[in-house]
């Protein structure tokens, strides 16, 4: 039944285009757009094929867009970077009138986000999630409700955070009760992080790292992303995601079309399929971040992690959405973080 629905909705999408195109997608590896079944369903419905290229950091993504004009048709851009990409002329406005699912996207994401600039859509809100932390359920009898658990001597040498200056500073900002987008007291953040250092076993840099350290029982708790936590739990790791009372960092990812794309129609179709509830419910079963499409989020089973945890109004009230960070601030954070690491 689902399959049937899925195909009809795709066929409806495909009605507009007759010729087969090959579109190139630039994304993180293993992040939704490259799921085999999703690409196959899109190819079956539209006749267009999908090729992927990957990046491992936002800076790399921007560099690839700058250096290879015309090479990509769809690119995943975190909302904190969309404006920069637009200002550099890397991405163009998207005509959403032909998209069937765009109207179902939660208002909060279309009106009050960095993706829609001067009434033009530069990124279609796709997924969102939290950067908070996950615990090894074997190490805790009851899940902690505070971020201060990272500084608990009981977990000395058993915690980890990601090796990323921005994430580390925002983590310190949350722990010192500050606004993550406007850190007033950077000294107290540095002091707090400095106290955290002896607690840390190692830094992690990818989801794969994280899973390995957890599987090898090296860690009691570590910062993590909500979608990844759902995937790790799905793999059978003893992992539970925690949104502490101090709050968490929320991020929004959008799908954009490079200004230099030569297959804009096919790209729009692909994005429409990516925000389709049929696509999302199936992806969610394999471990996905939260969907920006309200209809897709509603379609989830009540037991789903994304509906249970991220659909909880109490949780949503505690999160702070990440705003763009200018180069000077980024530089300051990087210096602080490198200094902390160097003194170990």
């Amino acid at each position: 039944m689902t399959r049937h629905l899925l195909l009809t909705s795709l066929l409806a999408l495909a009605a507009g285009s007759a010729t087969a195109d090959e579109i190139r997608v630039l994304n993180w590896q293993g992040y939704g757009t490259d799921l085999d079944w999703a690409v196959e369903a899109y190819a079956a419905a539209t006749g267009n094929t999908v090729l992927h290229e990957y990046f491992t950091s936002e800076q790399e993504m921007l560099t690839k867009l700058r250096t290879n004009p015309g090479a990509y048709d769809v690119v995943l851009i975190n909302a904190a970077f969309t404006r920069q990409a637009k200002d550099e002329g890397l991405i163009g406005p998207i005509d959403t009138t032909s998209m069937t699912n765009f109207e179902n996207i939660s208002n909060g994401f279309t009106t009050d986000s960095e993706l829609v600039i001067e009434d033009a859509v530069y990124g279609v809100p796709w997924t969102w999630g939290l950067t908070s932390f996950a615990i090894n359920t074997n190490a805790f009898e009851t899940a902690p409700d505070t971020i201060q658990v990272f500084w608990d001597p009981a977990h000395k040498g058993r915690v980890s955070i990601r090796d990323d200056a921005l994430e580390a500073v925002q983590f310190g900002a949350l722990a010192t009760g500050q606004n993550i987008n406007d850190v007033k007291d950077l000294d107290s953040v540095e002091k707090k992080l400095n106290e955290l250092m002896p607690q840390i076993r190692t830094f992690w840099s990818s989801e794969n790292d994280w899973n390995q350290y957890m599987a090898a029982d090296e860690l009691d708790l570590a910062t993590y992303w909500s979608g990844s936590a759902a995937r790790s739990a799905d793999m059978g790791l003893p992992v539970a995601f925690v949104v502490p009372k101090e709050g968490a960092v929320a991020w929004l990812d959008g799908l954009s079309i490079p200004a230099s794309s030569t297959h804009k129609d096919a790209a729009t179709q692909f994005i429409d399929w990516m925000i389709d509830p049929d696509f999302y419910t199936r992806w969610d079963a394999e471990g996905a971040p939260a969907s920006a499409n309200a209809a897709a989020a509603e379609a989830l089973a009540d037991t789903s992690f994304n509906k249970r945890v991220l659909g909880d109004p109490d949780v949503v009230a505690r999160v702070q959405f990440q705003k763009p960070v200018d180069d000077a601030t980024r530089e300051t954070y990087l210096e602080l973080w490198q200094g902390l690491k160097a003194r170990q």
Binding site: S57, T63, E88, T202, F203, D217, E218, E335, G339, Q344
Partner: protein, 287 residues
């Protein structure tokens, strides 16, 4: 050696050397000069904005105490690893060259070189499996010893040193071995005939005569270890930040190529300075 040059020799030599110099130009000089060029720019020349020339990347190094601290950490790491490689590698080479003959020597040689045939990343990950808590080493020791063993070596500076020593030890063994093998046996017979003991032979004959090989090995170890980034990153945990990892960050994570290039050239300059300062000692050893 000092023979009068035969006419036409120069041209022949130039012809024979040309491929080598061409290769050096292509493989070493051009990429290095591109990096040198980058290090004087405000941004990597990819975007729409054209970068300007600047000295800021070099000034950054002198204005940020973090970089000097990391450089010192890396040099200390280099000295430790070199010292350990020499302490372990030289005796190994001595035994290989003077005590073991025939097939056994070939087999041992193979064992020394064998790790070189595997990818270095694979080697480092193998060490991670061996060293980590409840890993191969912990379990083996636990099974052998009556008391509870928890070494906790993984994610410590010691783990980084172990990984690096393992990676670079063959250099010292190979260069020392070649130098040791070249020593004529007659010299030892003569020394013994004149009443020299084992220690005297080692101190007065073997060490001075094989010093060139030992020094070449030590330099081959020291230079790459000071700039190493993979081993510290994987094995060092929170202690794994060194000058090399910061350079890697500039290229891979932060995309500040000019700063990364500038830091690389500062490292190169410092390493050359260290080798230059120690050159009187080295030269004495090499002659």
């Amino acid at each position: 050696m000092a023979q009068a040059p035969i006419p036409g020799d120069g041209r022949r030599a130039a012809g024979l050397l040309a491929p080598a110099y061409l290769w050096l130009t292509l493989a070493v000089f051009l990429p290095l000069s591109a990096m040198l060029f980058f290090s004087f720019l405000t941004a990597a020349p990819f975007g729409t904005e054209s970068p300007r020339a600047t000295l800021e990347n070099y000034r950054d190094f002198f204005e940020t105490p973090t970089y000097a601290l990391l450089l010192w950490k890396s040099i200390r790491l280099g000295l430790w690893v070199t010292l350990l490689c020499v302490l372990i590698g030289f005796p190994c080479a001595l035994v290989l060259a003077r005590q073991i003959r025939g097939r056994a020597r070939e087999a041992l040689f193979l064992l020394v070189i064998l790790p070189f045939w595997s990818n270095s990343l694979v080697r480092v990950f193998s060490w991670a499996i061996v060293l980590r808590g409840n890993g191969v080493l912990d379990r083996t020791l636990d099974a052998l010893l009556p008391f509870d063993v928890r070494l906790g070596l993984m994610f410590t500076p010691a783990a980084v040193v172990i990984g690096l020593v393992h990676s670079y030890l063959p250099y010292v063994i190979l260069t020392s071995y070649l130098a040791l093998q070249a020593i004529e046996d007659d010299i030892f017979d003569a020394a013994r005939a004149l009443g020299a003991g084992r220690i005297t032979i080692l101190r007065r004959l073997i060490l001075p005569l094989s010093l060139p090989g030992l020094i070449a090995g030590a330099v081959l170890v020291f230079v790459p270890v000071v700039g190493s980034f993979m081993e510290p990153r994987i094995l060092g945990g929170r202690f794994g930040t060194y000058f090399g990892t910061v350079i890697e960050d500039q290229f891979v994570a932060v995309f500040n190529w000019p700063l990364g290039a500038a830091l690389s050239f500062i490292l190169l300059a410092v390493v050359l300075a260290i080798l230059g300062l120690s050159s009187p000692v080295l030269r004495r050893g090499l002659t």
